[in-house]
């Protein structure tokens, strides 16, 4: 039987506020345990939560960026469950009346564009952290993270493969980073994801029973966990079993999902409006004032890049995937002053490869847009060939000076003096009579041999177009 996969994602984006969502304690990552957990975060008796205005601003920005309705009235609710890293015995979240409803975003996959619906996004507080190792049979609790603002972004079950899910997740990642409402750091848990996965026979309308996958803290894990889970569900059904609605944890070491023990699972949350918090009322003036602060978003930027720089959809997508990349690219094009395609090729080729190899971000690149522009200008004015440029790039990366200095010091200037090239060509022809004879006898492939010999003799510096032309004339 042919099966169809159905995936919905719940993404938790930690909002980049200075203080917590309901208290004035710091949110900074990496502080000593419990030094950023105040009486409100600890849930001590008699405290009152007060909502952070910046969290509301950020949620509103997100809502507007995905074309959603920003609710004029939203309400906080208590989600009740017991766990030691949740000192109040409930998490303050939003349930029936979230701040953001019904948005959408486009994702691009293998040249096709698909719209993914966003059901809602709501504000809530994060829980603390439980450390289970090494405390003489007890668990240690760090409540620094308790009360950190989260925006939970819930998608429609619109994705049909792990690849689509990843494309959507990367898109949301890019949007929250463009908006500067979340640092997107997955290692530190600032951007995390749960996936609801089910399968159904192709053509069937009703959804199958879904499993919720947790603990997916990298793009790669999301893809692997979904693929594992899809195979597991199909095998289960085909061998006569039924899929249980349950929460499953992804085990990255084993590459599999396994059910959470029932003790870890609590799915009867008894939500009710939090009497400590009043409804949040937003008016049009506020919403419009936030709209006015929105930066150019990834999709707009991508379309502008395609139009202004005549890039392919793919190139434009890569170069606008982060604000930093897009900024570098525009500085580079401006620096070179021509040939945006050449700029794109170098950024996505040698520069991207070197950054990857050294595990660096574009912001930490030793070759800045200015420095790279200096070299691309020399390709453009034919001082060096594209091939020699690779050598120059390596020297730039190693910090050996600017492009002109490197070209000068290493004597890499392209030879365009046709007299000089002609002399070399004549030399090669007279030194290789056998090959000349074979070539003239019809072995066309030998042409490459002659080009290679000339390039070797000129250490790659001869202008390739001139070499070709002269060889054709003389052979």
């Amino acid at each position: 039987m042919e099966w169809e996969t159905v995936i919905g994602l719940e993404i938790h984006a930690q909002l980049a506020t200075k203080s917590k969502i309901f208290s004035a304690a710091a949110t900074e990552y990496g502080a000593a345990p419990n030094t950023q957990a105040c009486a409100i975060d600890l849930g001590l008796p008699g405290v009152l939560p007060v909502l952070n205005a910046e969290a509301v601003n950020m949620a509103t920005k997100f809502g507007l960026a995905v074309g959603a309705n920003v609710a004029k009235r939203s309400v906080f609710a208590r989600k009740n469950y017991f766990y030691p890293d949740l000192p109040k015995g409930y998490q303050i979240s939003q349930f029936e009346l979230p701040i953001v409803e019904r948005g959408e975003t486009e994702v691009e996959l293998d040249g096709d564009t698909k719209v993914i619906g966003i059901t809602r996004a709501h504000l809530e507080e994060d829980a603390g952290k439980s450390l289970h190792e090494d405390f003489s049979g007890m668990s240690g609790i760090d409540l620094n993270r308790a009360g950190t603002p989260l925006l939970e972004i819930v998608s429609e079950p619109d994705m049909r493969s792990a690849k689509e899910a990843i494309a959507y997740m990367k898109k949301i990642h890019s949007i929250v980073r463009y908006l500067e409402i979340c640092d997107g750091n997955m290692q530190e848990g600032s951007f995390r994801c749960d996936a609801n996965v089910s399968v159904r026979p192709k053509g069937q309308k009703e959804f199958g029973t879904r499993a919720e996958l947790k603990n997916l803290n990298s793009f790669r894990f999301v893809e692997r966990a979904i693929n594992f889970e899809v195979d597991r569900q199909i095998d289960l059904i085909e061998s006569g079993g039924t899929v249980l609605q349950e929460t499953r944890l992804y085990d990255a070491d084993k590459g599999e999902t396994r059910p959470m023990r029932s003790k870890e699972e609590a799915n009867d949350y008894r939500y009710f409006p939090d009497p400590d918090l009043l409804p949040v009322i937003l008016d049009d003036t506020f919403i419009e004032s936030i709209r006015a602060t929105l930066p150019e978003l990834p999709d707009e930027k991508k379309h502008r890049f395609i139009k202004d720089y005549e890039l392919s959809t793919y190139d434009a997508g890569v170069l606008t995937s982060s604000r930093e990349l897009a900024h570098y690219y525009e500085a580079l094009v401006k620096g070179v002053g021509s040939n945006p395609k050449l700029c794109a090729n170098w950024m996505m080729g040698d520069l991207a490869a070197s950054l990857n190899k050294n595990n660096l971000d574009i912001n930490d690149s030793p070759v800045t847009a200015d420095i790279l522009a200096g070299m691309l200008k020399r390709i453009e004015d034919k001082t060096i060939s594209g091939k020699i440029a690779k050598q120059v790039f390596e020297a730039l990366w190693a910090g050996e000076g600017d492009a002109d200095a490197i070209i000068e010091a290493k004597g890499l200037k392209q030879v365009t003096d046709s007299g000089a090239i002609e002399a070399v060509v004549d030399d090669i022809i007279s030194n290789n009579p056998k090959q000349v004879e074979d070539y003239r006898g019809g072995k066309d492939k030998l042409f490459g041999f002659f080009v290679g010999q000339v390039m070797k003799a000129t250490k790659g510096k001869a202008n390739p177009a001139q070499v070709n032309e002269l060889l054709k004339k003389k052979l």
Partner: protein, 95 residues
Amino acid sequence: MSLSKTDVEKIAHLARISLSADDIPRYAENLSNILDLVEEMNQVETAHITPMAHPLEAIARLRDDTVTETDQRVAFQNIAPQVEAGLYLVPKVIE
């Protein structure tokens, strides 16, 4: 509406309240009475009424995003039953 013994046990567990077996019938009756009252209220036509989120006719006041809390860990951990390395210790949560 009449709650069964298992309903009461489940509610007690969710609220982490320990009930003796003798208490259960009394709780079942009291809780059922409350639900009956809710059932009565359910008969009121409310389709055109915005659900009340808070008894006060007021809206949330927001605070500026500034850090004013200082580190009070020593004071808080003085009243905690057990601490180690800055962490609050609790009975092991996963076995």
